[in-house]
């Protein structure tokens, strides 16, 4: 493509099918305790 560079694998839809296993960290615990930025959490099922 000349005009667009796609940066990532964009797989949110696929993760919905297998997701929700509950292995991952609870969001607010990790650093801030005053807000929740979910996107910086890691999936632990793929580790």
């Amino acid at each position: 493509m000349k005009h667009i560079r796609t940066i990532n694998k964009a797989n949110l839809k696929k993760t919905a099918e297998k997701g929700g296993c509950g292995k991952c960290q609870t969001s607010c615990q990790s650093a801030c305790k005053t807000s929740c930025t979910i996107a910086n959490q890691q999936c632990e099922a793929n580790k």
């Binding site: 990532n8 797989n11 993760t15 292995k23 607010c28 615990q29 801030c32 979910i38």
Partner: protein, 475 residues
Amino acid sequence: MTNTIHRFIQDGEYIVLDVNSGGVHVVDEIVYDLIGELEPPLSEKMPAGIPEKLPKYSAEELKECYDEIYSLYSDGILFSTDEYRKYAELSVKAPIKAMCLHVSHDCDLRCKYCFASTGDFGTGRKIMTPETGRKAIDFLIEKSYGRENLELDFFGGEPLMAWETIKATVDYARSVEKQYNKNFRFTVTTNGMLLNDEKIEYINREMSNCVLSLDGRKEVNDNIRVTRSGKGCYDIIVPKYRQLVESRVNPGRTDYYVRGTFTKYNLDFVEDVLHIAELGFDQLSVEPVTAPSDAPYAITEEDLPEIFAQYDRLYRIMAEHVEKTGKKPFNFFHYMIDLNQGPCAVKRLRGCGCGNEYVAVTPDGDIYPCHQFVGIDEWKMGNIYQGNVDADIANYFAKTHIYSKEGCPDCWARFYCSGGCNANGFIYEGDVRKPHKIQCALMKKRLECGIALGVKVSEASGGEAAETAVPYSGR
């Protein structure tokens, strides 16, 4: 439109986020403008009237761009649809897997912005007994059926004031975790005042993360974070944090954050971020204060333009470092977005898990949805000695998600923010399901910076997450 794509320009880079697939695209100006004129569903042919709307570009150029857009649309990574509502609607209360253990409702500092009312949460100064700490472990093991990884954060007040209880709780958990097939992860959030060799050694052996409070420059920190006699704590804590972080080398025990708060008094908080980095720390989190809007230090709407400019400045500093060295100068918590391997879509519907997967427990064993609800009577969920947890409250939080919160279903940030902080909604807007407007504005700004930084990192490293370069000496 906002609920399928989000277009923004960060430092001259045109970025398009496909909200529902998570696709991130860097585009040129024509595509950027063209996308602004399109509404899904798209058809193979460019809609009539576009060349008239965008006379800057030739019809041929536009057609070429449209074909690229259409190809991504067909692949499901541009203008894709939101198919997650069904997962949210099925959600029921889950096992408890994380606990904030308030081992101390007392504090040896008197920080001027403390949301815990200088440590006691308005409930009187108290230290948790070791017996209650052990009881909390039994409670968590019992309520976490099916979950293996359990998290427990020692919090306060100042948790290190309850050192015997911390040790008793950790030692007890380690003695029973195998038998119940659990894996405890301990963390601690401390103001640093009571750190000494023994505590540092123990924390670096047992705690998988620790959060070290420091607001940045000495004068900024010492204006707010003061002892009972009003003296700033910077000179006492910084050497201890250095000692702790330098010896934090045990496997699985290397994570930490130096965490600061910024207020109206230091809207130029990027100076504080850089100051902490220059002290030699590379895991940083500096966040806006949570405060009633009439407090003199509270962040108010008129502060937003200055804060946005600061976030842009921080972005630029970090991005330039990535461009020059291939490495991030440090990790800034709110800009850490893994564009490839973030959490699954189901997790993104509900964020923090408060009152459902996550609870806070007070020195008396009372249970609340999270640390910020502690002391608010109507949210008390039970007591670990009685073993009861209010199922109505837990279900209410299970049903609190991006499709049930005001404004979130149409917000582009919904899969990154997950509906924001429930406690802030309640405290500021009187309703858990009404996101706090200022927090939303800050969240969206940080996400744009974080996504743009993710683009830089991914281009510099071929998709691998970049390491940080320690120590930072970028200026």
